[in-house]
Each structure stands twice: as C-alpha cells, then as structure tokens.
Amino acid sequence: MTTTIEVPTATQVHRATQAGIAHKKKARASRALVLPALVFSVILTQVPFLVTIYFSLLNWNQLRPSEIKFAWFKNYAVVFTGPDFLPSLFATVVITGSSVILSLLLGLFFAVLLDRKFVGRGLARTLMITPFLVMPAAAALIWKWSLLDVNVGMVNWALHLVGLSAIAWNTDLPVVTIIMMLTWQYTPFMMLILLAGLQSQSREVLEAASVDGAGPWRTFQWMTLPHLRQYIEIATLLGSIMLLQAFDPIAIMTKGTGGTKTLSYLLYERAFIGLDVGQAAAFGVVTVAVTIGVATIALRTLFKVFINGGER
C-alpha cells in the first residue's frame, strides 16, 4: 500500500534494466512455459464477447429458428429506438449512482471508525467485510425476508416498535430496496480501500497538525481528505464497474419491477423471456459499452498501477 506513492529510485531502474538483459537469454524457454497460460486466459476472457458482437448482428429469435439471418445494425436500431432503453438506462444510473455514493459515504464513516484503536478492532473489521463476501443470492434472501418482509422482517418490527406502520418495501419501494441492499453489500469494499488509504497516512503529519492547533474536523478536511483522494477515486471507479453489473438482488427481490429494470436485467429478460438472441446480444454490447465508458477512466488510473507495480 505504501509503495503506491513511491517514485522508482535509481537502483530500482538499474535493476530492472539488468533484469531485462538477463531475461533475453532464457526468455524463449520460459515463454514456452508461461505463454500458453496467458493465451488461455486471454481466449477464455475475450472470445465470449466477440461471439456476443457477432450475435448482435443477427436477426435471431428462438421462437422463429428458421429465420436466422444477417441483419447488420437492425438490433441496435431496435435497442436505441425501443421504449425500454431509456427507462432502463435511467434505472441503471439511479441505482448504480445512489449505491456508489451511499456506500462510499458509509464506507468512509466505517473506515474512520476502524482507523481508531479500540478493543476488538480486528474482529470488528472482519465482521464488517462479511456482507461483501457472503453469497449475494443469500444476502438478497436475508434482505427480502429477514429484514424487509411485511410480516416477519426486522425493519418493519423496528418501525412497529416506534409506532409506524409496516412498509412493503419490496413492492412499494423497489428502487429504495435494491439501493439499500447494494449499499449494504458494497460498503465493506469501499471501507477496505479507504481504510488502506487512512492507514498509509503519516502519523507525524497528523500530530504536527494537532500541535499547531488544528481541530479534528479541520485536520480531516485539509489533510486526510486530500490524502484520500486517489483512494476515493479508485473505490468509486471499481465500485461503479461492479455495481453496473448487479444482477442477483434484482433477479431475486424485484424481478425488474417498479423502476429496477437495469440494463443487465433487461438484457437477461430479452434473452430468456423474450428469447430474442440477436436483441439480447445487442443489449449486451451496449451494456459493455456503458461499462467500458466508466472503466476507461478507471483503466487509465489502474493501468499505471498495474504495469508499474504500484509506482507512479
């Protein structure tokens, strides 16, 4: 974590050059060993997408299997002019955007909480990350039944305690339900990245600030937040990419009703309920394009880190 802000020293550069020369000698033998794995990785991760692009250019509905033919960009025309696309894009933006912002804020709150020393901090941190690692399908069920159900849900029980009537979250407020669930799930991820950022902050600088009379809030605002900037960026970008793909909670809790039909759920519906392979594939390509739009910015940041091994 600390290496992220280091500049490569002269010795490191020298060593890298030396290593480069040494590599060339036995490079062929090692390539023969290692490249098949790389090729396999690339094929397995890239080919399905190429096939999707090909399918998106076909006129192919499974209800009419005899009419498969090449249709150029007809499916895209249907996607962009159809009545489903804009509402779905809107739903995607609302759900992804709110979940990212909320989980980032909560993540920051928990990261600050866990950055302090207290008894059982390790245990608390572990418990904090469980929502991110627990099976999303099971998490969706916990939320659907255990927390939000009208009759037996904990949230409605708590509402009842303070004298409010139960809310049928799942059917009355489906968008809120999905956002709550996704926020719960992704807060730990945001927290981990931000906590790494907090812990890489120099203690001396913070102490110096407090000696100079800066209060905790001013220190946080002027020292900690600027320091966290790059971590917040990375957390936001990775979080957006993962949340754009969120599918399990929507499939299990709302089935795309009430404004929760995001691009990924719409695509699923086209493929498996509409049985239109060509259109579904076109939606897939559009979804990927949206994700890539977000990811390009992420890639630019991450790429440097990935290639240079944490030195930039």
Binding site: V51, A140, A271
Partner: protein, 271 residues
C-alpha cells in the same frame, strides 16, 4: 470507552443483526413463522430437515456438494493458469505485455450478464446444458482475471534477488521458482485461492441458466426454495438454508481475515 461502545454498537447493528435475525428465524417452529420475538423461541431443528428434504424438492445437500466440486475445480484450474500468467506479467519482458495485461484487467470488469446468450447457445449446440463443465468453464473465466491480477501484484513484491542467487548457484528458472519463490509466495497463493473459491461459490447468474436439478449449485438451490406447506411462504426453511450457506463462510472469513483483507486490497488498490 464511549468510543468503543459506540463503534461496537454501530458495527453490530450493521453486520450482525441481519444474520442474527436469520438464525433466530431458522430455529423457530414453522407454526410460529409470524412470531417476531427478537430472541429464540419455539426452538426446533425441523427447518433444517425441510431444507435438506429431497422429498419436498429441495436439493440443498446435493447443491452444496455441487458448489464445493465446482468451486474446487475452478480454484485449482484458475490457480494453475493464474500462477504462470502472473509470473510472466510480473517477471518476464515480452512484446504485447501491456496489451495482454490490459485485456485481462478489462475482462475482470466485463459484465457477466452479456455472456449468457452466447454461452447458452454454445452449450446447447454441443450438448453441454446442465453439465458440470458448462458451469465450471464460465466460472474459470470470471475467476481468472481476479487470480491473475491479485497474484501479479503479490509476485511483484517477491525478493527476486533470491531467485537470481539460486540461479547463479546452478538452479534452472523453474527450479529457482519452485524452491525459492513458491514457498515465499505460498501465503499469497493461498489468499488468491480463497478469493477465487468465494467468487465461484457465490456465482448465481450463469448457473441459474445453465444448470440442471442434478448439477445446480447452492446459490440456485436457495433462490428457488420450497417449504413444507405449499401455500405458506417457506420463511423458516429459507432462513435455515441461508444459515447453512452463510455461517460457514463467516467462519472462514473470521479464520483467514488477515489474508482475505490483504488479497482484497491487493486486487483493489493496486489493480
């Protein structure tokens, strides 16, 4: 002190309460489904029997074995290819390294939902629908980018001088890697294995379309759960099934927390 109490309270409410409520419901008699007493009442194990009852159409036991089998295979294959690929990316110089790293990194951001159409067609054509390999191969392609980039960032920090030294002493590159680097890299490999396993264990989307009753993993099994009485929503049995699949994972996380945190931040912060 006050700080400790407040922190503890917030964290308990945030992460423990949902699980606690699930466990309490899981042990409650089905006749008292609508009882919302916040502590265990009418304790029974019957819900767990319902959850495992094949007579009611719940294949939880089989599904857990399927998930274990799929997860183990995916982890082993992804690690075999992941270690070699990560070694190449962290240690060798070759043309197109940047493009390959980029392609693998991009694949980890790829929405899985875009793949189900071609996969469905492909597996129908070659008669693989509902087979284990139809679930394992896509899962590998999801686990592989994660494996490669987590391992690459770990391997980059290995003391490669030692490997050079071993080679000067007469080891081949493979020997040097196996005898010097592998033992040092073992914790990183183990961390990656846990993450790869969790990613496969949690996979729902692809499996929900490509599995059959016999091969369905536990994610699919609990999503389509049936209860002992046809007209009552099987809350208690669902919660029992939920308890069975989440509690082991929570324990796993507690045991390996340090490694998991290291792995998640290596993949996240360092890309």
């Amino acid at each position: 002190m006050v700080r400790t109490v407040i922190s503890a309270l917030v964290i308990v409410l945030w992460c423990i309460a949902p699980f606690y409520w699930m466990i309490v419901t899981a042990f409650r008699d089905v006749g008292f489904t609508y009882d919302t007493t916040p502590w265990p009442t009418h304790v029974t194990l019957a819900n767990f029997e319902t959850a495992f009852s094949t007579a009611l159409g719940n294949h939880l036991g089989q599904a857990m074995l399927n998930s274990l089998f799929i997860g183990a295979t995916v982890t082993v294959v992804a690690l075999l290819f992941g270690i070699s690929a990560a070694y190449a990316l962290a240690r060798l110089e070759f043309k197109g390294k940047g493009i390959i790293s980029g392609a693998i990194l991009a694949a980890s951001m790829f929405p899985g939902v875009a793949l189900i159409t071609p996969l469905f067609q492909l597996f129908t054509n070659i008669g693989w629908m509902g087979t284990y390999q139809a679930l394992i191969i896509p899962s590998i392609s999801f686990a592989l980018p994660l494996t490669v980039y987590t391992l690459t960032s770990f391997l980059r920090e290995m003391p490669w001088d030692l490997e050079e030294a071993a080679r000067i002493d007469g080891c081949t590159r493979v020997q040097a890697f196996r005898r010097v680097i592998m033992p040092l890299a073992a914790p990183a490999v183990f961390t990656t294995a846990i993450l790869a396993f969790i990613s496969s264990w949690n996979e729902y989307l692809i499996s929900s379309q490509l599995s059959s009753d016999a091969t369905q993993p536990v994610t699919v099994a609990i999503a389509g759960f049936a209860g002992s009485q046809p007209h009552v929503e099987p809350y208690t049995a669902i919660m029992a099934a939920g308890t069975i699949v989440t509690v082991p994972l929570v324990i796993l996380v507690l045991i390996f927390q340090r490694r998991i945190v290291a792995g998640l931040t290596a993949g996240g912060v360092k890309g």
